[in-house]
C-alpha cells in the first residue's frame, strides 16, 4: 500500500486527460460534420470553417496539460511518489479540468456547429461567429486555471 498516493495521482491525471479528451473529440467531431457539409456547398470556406471546427479542440489539450503536469510531479515522469493524502489532493485538483472539459467540449462543439452554419450563410460574419464558441471556452479556461493553481499549490 506504499504506492497508494501514486495510484490516486495517476487516477487524477487519467481523469483530466480522459474526460477533457472525450469532450473535445465529441465537440470537434460534430463540428467537423457541419464543416464538411459547409465545404461541400462552398469549398472556398474551408479555411474559415476549419478554424471554427478546431475551437472545441482545446479542452483535450488542456486535459493533456494537466495530466502531464501531474505525471511530472508524482514520480512517473519526474518528481517523487506522493503520500496518500497528496495523491488524493492531486486527484481532486484534476477533477475540474476533467469534468468541465467534458461538458464544455461537447457544448462548444454545438456552438461551433451553429457558428459554421452562420458563416456558410454570411461569410463576412466570421469574426462574430468565432466569438460564440469562444464564450463556452471561458469555462474550460477557468477550470484549467483552478486545476493548475491547485496542482502547483500542493506541497
Amino acid at each position: 500500500m506504499d504506492n497508494l498516493g501514486m495510484v490516486f495521482g495517476l487516477t487524477g491525471a487519467a481523469i483530466a486527460a480522459l474526460f477533457a479528451g472525450i469532450g473535445s473529440a465529441v465537440g470537434v467531431g460534430i463540428a467537423g460534420q457541419a464543416a464538411a457539409g459547409a465545404t461541400s456547398e462552398k469549398p472556398d470556406l474551408f479555411g474559415k470553417v476549419l478554424v471554427l471546427q478546431l475551437l472545441p479542440g482545446t479542452q483535450g489539450i488542456y486535459g493533456l496539460l494537466i495530466a502531464f503536469i501531474t505525471l511530472s510531479r508524482i514520480g512517473i515522469m519526474g518528481g517523487q511518489a506522493p503520500t496518500t493524502v497528496q495523491g488524493l489532493l492531486y486527484l481532486a485538483a484534476c477533477l475540474p479540468m476533467g469534468f468541465v472539459g467534458l461538458g464544455s467540449g461537447i457544448h462548444q462543439g454545438k456552438a461551433s456547429v451553429a457558428a459554421i452554419n452562420l458563416v456558410s450563410k454570411k461569410e463576412d460574419q466570421f469574426g462574430k461567429a468565432m466569438i460564440f464558441p469562444a464564450m463556452v471556452e471561458t469555462y474550460a479556461i477557468l477550470a484549467l486555471l483552478i486545476s493548475i493553481l491547485s496542482i502547483f499549490g500542493i506541497k
Partner: protein, 673 residues
C-alpha cells in the same frame, strides 16, 4: 487614428461625359455613389442592370475557363495570389484584345462541357455492352419478330436450366402447345445466374407459350437492331471515338494555356465594366444631363476635384447634413492599421464614435504575445510574415493587413518568449542534457518563468485586464465629454472608476490575499483600506442614484440604480476573464515541454538514430503546438477585445465606405504620374 471626415459630392454634367466621369472615378476609387432620390418627372434613372449582368456573366465565364485551364494545364503559382501591375498604355492595348480572348474563353468552357458529356456517355455504352454480352452468339438481331408464320421470343430465365427442364416446364404450363422450338443461347455462371433462350413458335400458339414463359420468371431480352455481336462492335467503336474526342478536346484546351494571362485580364476588364454599369444605373438623368451624388473622404477631395473641373462638369462638395446615413472610412498608421480589419469584423464604428483601432493595437499585440509567449514560435511567425510581405508586394489589401497584424503579433510573441525563457519550450535545456550531457545549460528567463510562479503571472494578467477595462471606460468618458455630456461622464464612468478602483485597492490591503495567495511582497497599510472603502462606497451610492436616471419615477430610479450597482459582478467576471492570458501562456510552454520530454525519452542513448528520431518528434510536435496555440491566442485576443473591451464603450453599426473602384482580381493598373 481616426474616422475620416466625410464630404458629400454632387457632380452634374452632360450625358455624353458621364462615362468619362465614371471611368475617372473608378480609377481613383475613392467615391461611393449613392442611389438617386425618388424618381420624379424630371429625373429618371436608366436601368442598366441587364448590361451589368451580362458583363458579370462574361467575367464568370472567364473565371470558369481559368478553372478548366488550371485543372488541365496547371500553372506554376505561388502560395499567395499576387497582383500583376500594368500601366495605362498596356491596359488600353490589352482591352483591344478582350473580344478575341472572350471567344477563346467561351470555347474552353464549351470544350470542357463536351468533355463532361462524353465522359458521361462512355459508362452508359459500357453498360449496354455488358447487357448484350450473353447474346453475342446469337446470329439474328434481338428485335427480330419472326417470319410470316412464326414468332421469335428472346429472353432470360432466372437460374441455370437445361433444355430438357425448360421443355418439361413449358409442356406442364401449356400442354396443348406443340409447334415451338427452344434454343439456349448462353448460360451465365456468375451472379446472377441466368439462362438466355430463344423460342421460335407458330404464331397461333404464341400467346400460349408467352403465358407459360411468364409463369417461369421470364424476362425479355434487350433490343438491338443489329446482331448482338455486331452491335457490341459498334458500341466499342463509339467508345473509342468518344475517347478520341475527349483527348482532342483536352489537347485543344491545353493548347490554349498560353491565353491564361489574357483570360485573367479579360475577367478583370468585364468585372470592372459590370461595376461601372451598375454605377451608371444609380445616376439621376434627364434627356441630356446626369447628376451623380455620393460620398468621399475630405482628404480625397483635392485628388479628384481639379481633374473633374477640366471635364466640363459641375462639381459641388458640401458637408453632409446631420442625420444623413454617412459611410465610414478609417485611417491609421502602419502600426495600427491592421486593427481596422479586426474592428470591421465586429462592426464599423458609427459616425459619432472614435475609431478604436489605435487604442486596441497595443493591447492586441501584447495579449497575443503573452498567450503564445515562445520566442521560437514568435520568430517563426515574424519571419514567415516578413517573407510573404516582401515577396508578394502587390497582394490584396485585406491580406496585407492580416499579414502585418501577425508580423507585429510575432514580434510581441518573441519578446514575451524571451521574458519568460521559452524557446521551443525548454528545448535548449533538453537538447543540452540529452546530447551534450550538460543539464546546467538553459535559456534564462529575462523576467520570470511562469511555470515556476504561476500566481505572479496571474496577478499581472489581472493588472493588464484592469488597465484594458479602464482604458475602455476612459474612451467612453472621452466621447461623453467631447459631446458635452459631462454629467454623463461622471455618472457612467467616474463613479465606476471609484467603485471598481476602490474595491481593487481595498483587496490590496488584505495580507492573506496578497501574501498567501498572490505571493506578493507588499501589502498596503490599513489606513488605505478605509479611504479606498469610502471611495468605493461613494461610487456605489452615486451609481444607485444615477444609473436609472432615464426614469422619472424615483422608486423606479432607485431600483434601477441598485441593479446598476449589481453590475460590479460583471466587472469581477470581466477581470477574471483575463486569467486566460495565464492559462494559454502556460499551455504553450507546458505542451512544448511535453513534446521535448517525449523526444528526449525516445532519443536518449541511441546515438545518430536518436538524433533523427528526436528531430522528427520535435518538428511534428512543435508544428502542432504552434498551430493550435496560435489559433487559440488569435481567437482569445479577439474575444478579449470584442467582449471585455468593446463592452465598455463601443457601439458600432457604422457602414463602411463602398467606393466605385477597379475591383479586380489579377491585374492592377498603375496611373501615370
Amino acid at each position: 487614428m481616426a474616422i475620416l471626415p466625410m464630404k458629400r459630392i454632387l457632380i452634374c454634367g452632360m450625358k455624353k461625359d458621364r462615362k468619362e466621369v465614371l471611368e475617372f472615378l473608378q480609377r481613383q476609387g475613392v467615391v461611393e455613389i449613392t442611389s438617386p432620390a425618388a424618381q420624379d418627372d424630371v429625373f429618371t434613372s436608366t436601368d442598366m442592370t441587364s448590361s451589368s449582368v451580362q458583363f458579370s456573366r462574361s467575367a464568370d465565364t472567364c473565371e470558369a475557363a481559368l478553372k478548366v485551364l488550371n485543372d488541365l494545364a496547371p500553372a506554376k503559382s505561388g502560395l499567395l495570389a499576387d497582383y500583376t501591375i500594368i500601366d495605362r498604355e498596356e491596359y488600353e492595348k490589352r482591352v483591344a484584345l478582350c473580344g478575341e480572348t472572350m471567344k477563346k474563353a467561351d470555347k474552353i468552357v464549351r470544350l470542357n462541357k463536351e468533355i463532361a458529356e462524353l465522359t458521361a456517355e462512355i459508362p452508359r455504352l459500357e453498360i449496354q455492352n455488358e447487357i448484350l454480352e450473353p447474346w453475342k452468339n446469337l446470329d439474328i438481331p434481338l428485335d427480330y419478330e419472326g417470319t410470316k408464320n412464326t414468332k421469335t421470343i428472346a429472353g432470360t430465365l432466372a437460374g441455370k436450366q437445361t433444355l430438357a427442364e425448360i421443355y418439361r416446364q413449358i409442356s406442364e404450363l401449356a400442354p396443348e402447345a406443340d409447334a415451338y422450338d427452344v434454343e439456349i443461347v448462353s448460360t451465365s455462371h456468375d451472379d446472377p445466374e441466368m439462362t438466355c433462350i430463344l423460342v421460335i413458335v407458330h404464331k397461333d400458339q404464341a400467346d400460349l407459350i408467352e403465358d407459360a414463359l411468364w409463369h417461369m420468371d421470364f424476362s425479355k431480352a434487350p433490343l438491338s437492331s443489329l446482331n448482338p455481336a455486331e452491335e457490341i462492335v459498334s458500341y466499342n467503336k463509339q467508345i473509342e471515338e468518344d475517347k478520341k474526342q475527349i483527348e482532342e478536346a483536352r489537347e485543344a484546351i491545353i493548347a490554349m494555356a498560353d491565353e491564361r494571362e489574357h483570360i485573367r485580364f479579360t475577367h478583370d476588364y468585364y468585372a470592372m465594366r459590370a461595376d461601372k454599369y451598375d454605377a451608371l444605373s444609380r445616376l439621376a438623368q434627364t434627356e441630356r444631363t446626369f447628376i451623380l451624388s455620393g460620398y468621399l473622404a475630405k482628404r480625397d477631395v483635392p485628388k479628384i476635384e481639379p481633374k473633374l473641373s477640366e471635364m466640363d462638369v459641375l462639381v459641388e462638395v458640401s458637408d453632409p447634413e446631420p442625420g444623413e446615413d454617412v459611410p465610414v472610412k478609417l485611417r491609421n498608421n502602419a502600426f495600427t492599421s491592421p486593427m481596422e480589419s479586426v474592428v470591421a469584423n465586429y462592426s464599423m464604428p458609427n459616425t459619432r464614435e472614435i475609431d478604436p483601432s489605435a487604442v486596441m493595437a497595443i493591447f492586441y499585440y501584447v495579449f497575443f504575445g503573452l498567450m503564445l509567449s515562445d520566442a521560437a514560435y514568435g520568430l517563426i511567425i515574424t519571419i514567415a510574415c516578413a517573407v510573404c510581405l516582401t515577396k508578394y508586394k502587390n497582394m490584396a489589401a485585406g491580406m496585407k493587413k492580416f499579414m502585418k497584424m501577425f508580423l507585429y503579433c510575432g514580434i510581441s510573441t518573441t519578446i514575451w518568449g524571451f521574458l519568460f525563457g521559452g524557446f521551443f519550450g525548454d528545448a535548449v535545456n533538453v537538447i543540452a542534457t540529452t546530447f551534450f550531457n550538460r543539464p546546467d545549460i538553459k535559456l534564462p528567463a529575462l523576467w520570470f518563468e511562469p511555470v515556476a510562479s504561476p500566481m505572479k503571472l496571474l496577478v499581472y494578467a489581472f493588472v493588464f485586464g484592469i488597465i484594458h477595462l479602464f482604458v475602455g471606460l476612459g474612451i467612453q468618458m472621452y466621447e461623453q465629454i467631447r459631446d458635452g455630456d459631462i454629467k454623463g461622464a461622471i455618472y457612467d464612468v467616474v463613479f465606476w472608476y471609484m467603485l471598481v478602483g476602490g474595491l481593487i485597492v481595498c483587496v490590496m490591503t488584505v495580507p492573506m490575499l496578497m501574501q498567501d495567495m498572490f505571493q506578493l511582497s507588499f501589502v498596503l497599510p490599513l489606513s488605505v483600506r478605509k479611504v479606498s472603502l469610502i471611495i468605493a462606497l461613494l461610487g456605489a451610492i452615486g451609481i444607485v442614484f444615477t444609473a436609472g436616471r432615464d426614469s422619472k419615477n424615483w422608486v423606479k430610479r432607485i431600483m434601477k440604480g441598485l441593479y446598476g450597482v449589481y453590475g460590479v459582478s460583471g466587472y469581477l467576471s470581466d477581470i477574471l476573464s483575463y486569467s486566460r492570458l495565464l492559462a494559454l501562456g502556460l499551455a504553450t510552454g507546458v505542451i512544448a515541454t511535453v513534446f521535448n520530454a517525449m523526444a528526449a525519452m525516445v532519443a536518449k542513448g541511441k546515438g545518430i538514430v536518436g538524433v533523427i528520431l528526436f528531430i522528427i518528434i520535435f518538428v511534428i510536435g512543435h508544428a502542432m503546438n504552434l498551430a493550435i496555440n496560435a489559433l487559440g491566442a488569435y481567437v482569445h485576443t479577439n474575444r478579449l477585445q470584442y467582449v471585455e473591451f468593446f463592452g465598455k464603450f463601443y457601439e458600432g453599426g457604422g457602414r463602411e465606405l463602398d467606393p466605385l473602384t477597379e475591383n479586380t482580381k489579377y491585374y492592377r493598373v498603375k496611373e501615370a504620374k
